[in-house]
Symmetry: C2
Subunit: 407 residues, 2 copies
């Protein structure tokens, strides 16, 4: 099957969310991504949630479509094998993606002795190399103290900085590979998780708001800042989000709910122009009071019937179960999804890449490998080792296949 | 200056967060990104927060380092100019990034008549082309109902899906450009904001947890799921996040706080093995009770003195003001940051790309353009128009420069 990154070869030595997501993002576009783990698995191999078999659903979800090689990375012979895989020849190979604290044999300079145009992507916690994780980066970001209804900090549950870091790694890898095609040079690409947070805070204007206006964004619950939007309770115990950013969207709310005449009273009442984003934000309490009653008198189905197809930006709140069971976008009716047979977990509905490219078949989601599933094949095809040499590596415990690492 | 994406030429017709962030991500790696806006600015040009001058700090922060061309996109002559810029010849050009609902002249097929290897990146709300924004995607994601201390939904304030979508766009653009270099073919690349959310929910294991275990993640406040971590109040009214994922990190907490002996009582007390992630998660209330008292008896400075450099994963909570004023990572001591002179806002501390590439100078952050700042230069250099022709376009209102679009 022709895929967009067909031929690209990446070796990943990773754990947790960001680096595995970076590798998987490229695997889902057709790159060959070989994840090398220590025999028995890396530190993330048993992370919750687990299936009844003991298999980690977390690990399986973040490593879909990769190949898995299990090597004794604490032994010189194992390091030599890993080095050979990382520095494999070919214009599409010679790329390492890692978030492990590395020195010695896995440093860029040491590996570059085997291939001087090597590309190494290295994720660290902070730019000085010190450790940090999503949780300890997030607490400093300003967002937890601006999230929720009150002064207590509210952490996001989505590991947003990890997700963003994984996607920066994918971008950085393709940028470095593009540059290598032009100038033949290898590079070490560094990314700090806290820099991802800091860049995002700056890119969204929060730093400038502090510096220029002395303004420190305070929590306003689920209200949108600077525009109109909030959550509302329905008559049947559900909640909906209703949003208007443009004037067109704002007028659509009035038309679809029949509340245009009531809204027209709010401008003079609050001395604002409701045809501006700022005016609607300033008068939002009055607007919300009217919308709140409208929603409270209707079921979710009635609200959907009134708002769908009218140009109103809205959506129901769903928990993870409702998302899986009732959202048609989260089903195989969406071409991004397919049901895969995941070893140790059974059939699960899995997403492929959200990126769709015209003129080629979309790569369907693939299961994550069993740990060590591809050890033998990669040593044979990738390094050209003989059956006898591979047998010796297994016998001496330098490498392992899937049988010795069952769930 | 040699930069990693030197030579790459992208035209962006965009608004809000995701598509502008996608373009800026590549501009910060050295690509030329020309943002085309209607005269007077697109719908996001006045988004809050504003500087006292009326300039949008939001817009400025998301469009750093781009060139700005203002064109009357509602007139055929303007559309023709935009088309010519989008379809400019050269192996590095012919790339459009947009999130505007487009048909007619700005559709991929229409533009590809001017350049058949055109690459078009198109962000939509949903995969069927219907509209959605971060807020109406997020409510369905499951995360608001799993965030915060109780059953009420808590929206993230970080527009996390927009940020992720912007980075997917950057990845998809580089992937399509790589493929074009190999096969000479243009492509339309589609990305739906809700697919970014759905893929992330799936990649993090939440869909599999529902399907395999029937488990729907419930809110547990600021507690980490499946590991150890929470926020704690200090003696001086601050809060800190303390986390342990690995056994090494867990033991570091005991050592640094002197609480190892007390922690040792908790295993037998709660019938769990505290040397496992799951055991610590199960017994977290008891562990938190001990840590809570330790933190409450100490100031933030005392806690920092006790924990820094010990291998403990921890960090203080900061609001946006504290982040800007007290976090050394958010200062020009961090090579990612520099102070730029932003028109309409004055000097602001701005981030460059969080990606750092060895062997080349890191592109410093650049200000966002004034609207229409580069109209004349781009028409001359990019399209080779004569001074007379350009003068006529200005005179007839087909294009505009910065003077007619002041703050």
């Amino acid at each position: 099957m022709s895929t967009i990154l067909n031929g690209l070869r990446i070796v990943e030595v990773s754990a947790f969310v960001a680096a595995p997501l970076g590798g998987m993002t490229l695997a889902q576009l057709g790159a060959e991504v070989i994840r090398i783990d220590p025999i028995g698995g890396n530190i993330d191999y048993r992370r919750w949630p687990l299936a009844p078999s003991g298999a980690s659903l977390y690990w399986a979800s973040l490593n879909k479509g990769k190949r898995s090689v299990a090597i004794a990375l604490d032994r010189p012979e194992g390091q030599e094998l890993a080095r050979a895989l990382i520095a494999r020849p070919g214009p599409d190979a010679g790329i390492l993606l890692t978030n492990l604290p590395t020195s010695g044999w896995m440093s860029h300079d040491a590996l570059a002795q085997s291939r001087d145009d090597l590309i190494t992507l290295r994720l660290t916690g902070n730019h000085d190399g010190s450790g940090a994780v999503d949780y300890t980066v997030n607490c400093a970001s300003g967002f937890p103290l601006a999230t929720g209804p009150g002064p207590a900090p509210v952490n996001h549950v989505l590991p947003a900085w990890d997700v963003a870091a994984g996607l920066y790694l994918a971008t950085g890898l393709l940028a470095a590979e593009r540059a290598r095609r032009q100038d033949g040079k290898g590079r070490q690409v560094s990314l700090a998780l806290s820099d991802v947070m800091l860049a995002s805070v700056g890119n969204l204007g929060y730093i400038a708001d502090v510096q220029v206006n002395g303004a420190v964004r305070q929590p306003i619950g689920n209200d949108l800042y600077g525009a109109l939007g909030r959550d509302f309770a329905t008559a049947d115990g559900r909640r909906v989000m209703i949003v208007a950013i443009s004037n067109r969207q704002w007028r659509a709310i009035g038309r679809a709910t029949g509340l245009t005449d009531k809204f027209a009273l709010i401008g003079p009442m609050m001395d604002v122009d409701l045809d501006t984003e700022g005016g609607r934000f300033t008068a939002r309490a009055a607007i919300f009071a009217v919308l709140e009653r409208w929603c409270a008198e209707r079921s979710l189905a009635e609200i959907a019937a009134a708002l769908d197809g009218t140009g109103v930006l809205w959506g129901p709140y769903r928990d993870f179960g409702q998302l899986v069971h009732e959202d048609p976008r989260c089903s195989v009716a969406n071409p991004m999804f397919a049901t895969i047979e995941q070893p140790g977990a059974g059939p699960v509905r899995a997403p492929g890449s959200p990126l769709a490219f015209s003129g080629g078949t979309r790569l369907p989601p693939l299961p994550a490998p069993q740990l060590g599933q591809d050890t033998e094949a990669v040593l044979a095809e990738g390094l050209g080792l003989s059956t006898a040499a591979i047998g010796k590596l297994f016998a001496t415990g330098i490498v392992a296949g899937p049988s010795s690492t069952a769930f």
